[in-house]
Structure formats: structure tokens, C-alpha cells
């Protein structure tokens, strides 16, 4: 018998299990699930990074205290310059100050604590600190105040314009500055940009979205289909004992392991109308009219990206199917031979059913990869010519980062997400049990 020793605190197996699973689940929730939900939320706004009035998601009429305080400071500062350059404008400037101060007082009284927050933002600005805290920066404002404020700004802008008539030359520049600062101040009032499903209806009614969707579907169906057919043929052919197996395997793995962007760069070179050897030979054999046709026509561009993808992935598909083939016991074929089945019958009634799950899993992962294709197309054709090779991910990327339209881009990325989810649900219905068997301790 073992001596009962003093046990330190420890978790039971089950508790330990949950503790071990927790970090992954938290990470997945924080960096996958939460962002997807945020994307969905963003897609409901007219949210554009390049438009200061729409650079945030605003669900109700608000004021951006950061730009407000900033502009207020500039306005008063410029008025000092005007005073110096044009001493007789003092009276008019005092009126402007009074009107703005009045609005400012009203604003600070609309909400309890607003004065403190304004003070805090102002202090941060004086210390050149960016105001990143949205709670602090954005505050809802009542509509009457916003209207009154807009009117005041308009009136004072008009007053400044009047001052500029007949102002001495050195005062013209400060007056012009003052005018634009007053209208900038108007920009600190943020209209709500919640648009509901409008991004979806706009972009689902747009031809370009559907072209991108169809391109993506065509790309997925053709590449995965061809990769499966050629991959299966190759796998059947090399499913035997031969010298140099490792070398063949390595050669086959290299295209798979190369970054897609690098592969796309290589193919851009090979398809290039001037110096690309693929384009050169294809034109020589009469497959295309002229070497430039590959990257300058829609059909040529589509062919190019599909070809590059098939080159990159078929070997990998062959490898997966080969692994499936090697799990089939030889005795099955021997028995079939005895029964007089020919090679084709053996293939149909032994090989295919035995590698069914390997095929389905390979097709599932490939199809999902192909459906979200981005880098290959973005580097190889950039979606062109004339958007004819644009996939839905490429279009979403362009909206998000080239047009800085986060609302619309998010709507498209949610559409990609939903399509992928639908696709995987269908596949998993077909192969669910095969996927999970062998991974769980029951």
C-alpha cells in the first residue's frame, strides 16, 4: 500500500479539461466570432473612413467633442489674427464670439456632465493626445440645439463674408481661414448614419456584385472539378511502388507550399503578353489569337486565374486522394479479380466507395478555399480586365480598403460569410460523421 501523502490542491480531470479548452474557445470567440458580429453590425451603417462625418457608426444625432473643441480653438485663434490685421472689425468679431459662446453654453447645459467631458477632451487636445475613447468623444445632442447651432454658424459665416468685402489685404487670408473653420465646426455635428439593410439592398441590386458572385462560383466549380478529376487520375497512376517516391512527393508539395501571392506573381510573368512563355506558346499553337489576350480579355483572365489555381492545387488534391487510396486493403481487389471484375468495375465498386470520405473532405476544404479566393486574383489580374475576374472577396476588399467604404464592404463580407456557411452546412450534412470519427474519445 502506498503511503497516503499530502496532496496539493489540484483540479479534477474534468475541471482540467475545461481549463485546457478555455483559452482556445476564448481566442476563437474574441478574434473570430466577435469580429464577424461586428462586421454584421458595421454593415448596417453608411460608414466611410474617408468622410469625416461618416467615419464612425452613429445611431443618433451626436457631436464629436474632439473636432468641436479643436475647431473652437482654431476659430478663436484666427479671430485674434483678424483683430490684429483689421482693428476696425472688433465689433463684428465680438458679435461672433457672443453668438458662439451662447451656443456653447446651451450645449454644455443640454447634458449633465457634458461640461466636464468637454474640459477633459480639451485638456487632452492641449497635450496633443489623441482622443480614442468613443464614450468620451461622442455625445448625443438634441435636435433643436443642432439646428440652432447650424443656423448660428451660417449667420456668422455670412457675417465673416461681409467683413471680407473691403477688408485690407492682410486681413483677407485670416478671414478666409475663419470662414472655412466655421464651416468645419459644422462638421463636428454627426448625423446618424444607421441605414439598416440599405447596404445589402443596394449592393444586391448592383450588377457588379452579381458578376463577382458568378465569377466566384464559376471559379470554385471549375477549379475544384478539374482538380478532383486530374488529382484522382494522378493519384490512381502513382498509387504503386516506384523508385523516387519521396522526390515526387516533394516536387508535388512545392507548389502547394509556395505563398499564393508568389505563385500569382510567377504566373503573371508566364502569362504576360510580351515576355510570358505561356502566352507565347499558347499563341503559337493557335489556342489564343495573340499573346496579349490572356491578361487583357475577360475570358483570358478567367482562364489564367483558373489555370494558376489548378496548377497550384491539383498536386495537393492528388496527394490527399493517394493517402485515401493507400488505406484500401489489397485483398479487396484480389477478391474482385477472382470474381472476374475488370479494372473499371473494380474502380467503381471498390475504389470510389472506399475513398468517398477522403474525396468529400478534400472537396469540402478546397471548395471553401476556392470560394474565398483573394490573393491569387488580387495579385494576378487585380480583378480586371474590367472586373471580369473579380471575386466576391476581392470586391469586398476594394470597397473596404480602396474606397474606404466600411459599411458596404462589411455588407459584402457578411455575404461571403453567409455563402461559406451555407456551403459548409451542406457539405457537413453529407460528411459530418466521417469528419468527426476518430477525433473524439467517446
Amino acid at each position: 500500500m502506498k503511503q497516503p501523502k499530502k496532496r496539493r490542491f489540484q483540479l479534477s480531470e474534468r475541471q482540467l479539461g475545461y481549463a485546457m479548452v478555455a483559452p482556445s474557445i476564448i481566442l476563437i470567440a474574441v478574434i473570430i466570432i466577435w469580429p464577424i458580429m461586428l462586421s454584421a453590425w458595421n454593415s448596417l451603417f453608411d460608414y466611410r473612413l474617408n468622410d469625416p462625418a461618416k467615419a464612425e457608426r452613429i445611431s443618433s444625432l451626436s457631436i464629436n467633442l474632439e473636432t468641436y473643441a479643436d475647431n473652437r480653438y482654431l476659430v478663436y485663434d484666427t479671430m485674434e489674427d483678424v483683430r490684429e490685421a483689421m482693428p476696425d472689425a472688433g465689433g463684428a468679431l465680438d458679435d461672433i464670439t457672443t453668438a458662439l459662446d451662447e451656443q456653447h453654453e446651451t450645449l454644455l447645459n443640454t447634458d449633465e456632465g457634458l461640461a466636464d467631458r468637454y474640459e477633459e477632451v480639451n485638456t487632452m487636445l492641449e497635450n496633443f493626445q489623441p482622443v480614442n475613447d468613443e464614450e468620451l468623444r461622442l455625445t448625443e445632442v438634441p435636435e433643436e440645439w443642432a439646428d440652432g447651432f447650424a443656423n448660428t454658424l451660417d449667420e456668422q459665416t455670412a457675417a465673416v463674408q461681409a467683413l471680407r468685402e473691403g477688408a485690407p489685404e492682410e486681413a483677407v487670408q485670416p478671414l478666409t481661414d475663419l470662414e472655412s473653420q466655421l464651416s468645419n465646426t459644422q462638421g463636428s455635428i454627426l448625423e446618424p448614419n444607421f441605414v439598416g439593410l440599405k447596404n445589402y439592398t443596394t449592393y444586391l441590386g448592383d450588377g457588379r456584385t452579381w458578376t463577382a458572385m458568378l465569377n466566384t462560383l464559376l471559379f470554385t466549380v471549375v477549379t475544384v472539378g478539374v482538380e478532383l478529376a486530374i488529382g484522382l487520375a494522378v493519384a490512381l497512376l502513382i498509387n504503386r511502388v516506384f523508385i523516387g517516391r519521396g522526390l515526387v512527393r516533394a516536387a508535388v508539395l512545392v507548389p502547394w507550399a509556395i505563398p499564393t501571392a508568389v505563385a500569382a506573381m510567377m504566373w503573371t510573368f508566364l502569362f504576360d503578353g510580351q515576355s510570358g512563355i505561356m502566352a507565347h506558346y499558347m499563341a503559337q499553337f493557335g489556342l489564343i489569337d495573340d499573346p496579349g489576350a490572356l491578361l487583357s480579355t475577360g475570358a483570358g483572365g478567367m482562364f489564367s486565374i483558373m489555370f494558376a489555381d489548378i496548377w497550384k492545387t491539383t498536386p495537393y488534391m492528388a496527394l490527399l486522394l493517394l493517402a485515401g487510396l493507400q488505406t484500401i486493403p489489397r485483398s479487396l481487389y484480389e477478391a474482385a479479380e477472382v470474381d472476374g471484375a475488370n479494372k473499371f468495375q473494380q474502380f467503381i465498386s471498390i475504389t470510389l466507395p472506399m475513398i468517398r470520405s477522403a474525396i468529400l473532405v478534400a472537396v469540402l476544404f478546397r471548395a471553401l478555399d476556392a470560394f474565398r479566393v483573394f490573393d491569387l486574383i488580387y495579385v494576378l489580374t487585380g480583378g480586371g480586365p474590367a472586373n471580369s475576374t473579380e471575386s466576391i472577396s476581392v470586391y469586398a476588399y476594394k470597397l473596404l480598403f480602396e474606397q474606404q467604404n466600411f459599411g458596404a464592404g462589411s455588407a459584402l463580407s457578411v455575404i461571403v460569410f453567409l455563402s461559406v456557411a451555407l456551403l459548409s452546412t451542406i457539405f457537413i450534412k453529407l460528411i459530418g460523421s466521417d469528419l468527426f470519427s476518430g477525433r473524439l474519445k467517446q
Binding site: 510580351q274 495579385v379 474519445k441
Partner: protein
Amino acid sequence: MVKRAGVGFYIFLIIFVFLVMFPFIWVFLTSIKPQGEIFSSFQWFSSNMTLDNYASALETRPLLMYMLNSFVVATLTTIISIIVASFTAYAVTRLPIRFKGLILGLVLAASMFPQIAVLSPIFNFVTDAGLRNSYLGLVIPYITISLPLAIWILSTFFIKIPLALEESAKLDGATPFQTFRKIIFPLAAPGVFTTAILVFIAAWNEYLFALTINTDDRWRTIPVGISFYQSQYTVPWGDITAATVIVTIPIVVLVLLFQRRIVAGLTSGSVKE
């Protein structure tokens, strides 16, 4: 079906491997041609071989810096995701917890989601946290790709370890965590290593996050860096082919060294045994 191969088979094999490798061969042959010949002829071999393109590729852009960036980011990603994933894979395959199917289902779903769907929130998050143009700014989003992959592959390796070993460790008084650390983890080391290679390759190859998050030239990773060799007006094919050869070499070495492991890892996800 398993039979000896004849001459015809080897001819087929050579053609197949040649076709697969052709782009690399051609890019390599181009990279050692002088500038003028690249644009004027389709001759396979140049009579005046030169290394000028290589010198130019390393001078025009910080290629070695890109490779260093990719290496650091991919290594950090691999270490973090392997540690976290091996805990989860162990718990799911070995410990008596509930909702295992649900957890694996969640992991599988996470591995299937399109990156574009999380890109803008992650971009905002990384920007707000001041992590643009840093290694961490890429490592965090890369976990979205690598963690599900690692859990999924590791769980197939863990399940193959005989249960008896674990039970005898338990009889000898080992705590579950000690069993994990001293018995299971060493036994699963080959599987862990295989998974690490696959995660590393996936992180090395990632393009979309790297393109949007690290926009400063000094922080670009290799896939993004290569795609920027092309300027708007000229395409310096000499530089590009040379750069491609340089970045391909580490991958070829990796694949040659570990091809057996890589295949084991890839197929473990799809083949039922």
C-alpha cells in the same frame, strides 16, 4: 492495385513532375538572363548568364527584411497556437468533458470562415491598439487561421496514442497535467512537430491581413513584399524572378526535409484509418 512500375510509368512520372515544376524552372532560367534577353527572346538558355538580377532584387527592395518579418511572425504564431491548441486537443480527445462535438464543430467552423469577414473589425482593433506595422499586429489575426488548423490536426495525432500508457501513469499517481506533460506530449512530439510545420507554412503564406495591417515597407511580409515589386509603369521581371527564386529556396528546403511529415499532417485531416 499495388504493382511494380514499368518504363512507361516512369516516363509519365517525369513528364508530370516536369509540368508541375515548369514555372519554377522557367522563372529560375529567366532570373539568370541578362535584362535585354528577358524581353526579346524565348530561348531557354542564355549564353551570358549573370547574377545582376539577384543583386538588383536585393537592392531595389528590402527582400531580406521581408523574409525576416515573415519568419518572426510565422514563428511567433506557430509557438502560440501550438501551445494553446495542444491543450485543447488533449482535453477533447482524452479528458472526460462534455460538449466535445460542439467544441470540435466550433473549431471546424472557425477554420472555414472567410478571412474577409473579420478583416475590417480586426483592422479597426489593431489600429486602435496601435499595433499597425508591428509583429504583434499580425500575430493576433494569424491566430484566427492557425489555431483551428492546429487543434484539428493535433486531435488526430493525440487520439492515436494508446490509452494504456496514460492509465498506467495514472496508476503510478501522476496528475492529469503531469500525464499530459510527461507522457502524452513527448509521445505526440512527432505529431506536434508536423502540425507546427503546417501552421508555420500557413502563416508564412498569409496575404490578406499582411497586406492591410502592415503597410509600412519595413514591416511587410514576403508575400506582400513580392507583390509590390511591380510598379505602376514598369514590370522589372528580372528583379521579380530573382526575388521569387530567393524566397522559394527556403520553402523547397523545408519541403524536401519534411515532406514525409507534411504529407502525414495534410492527410490526417482527410483520411479515416
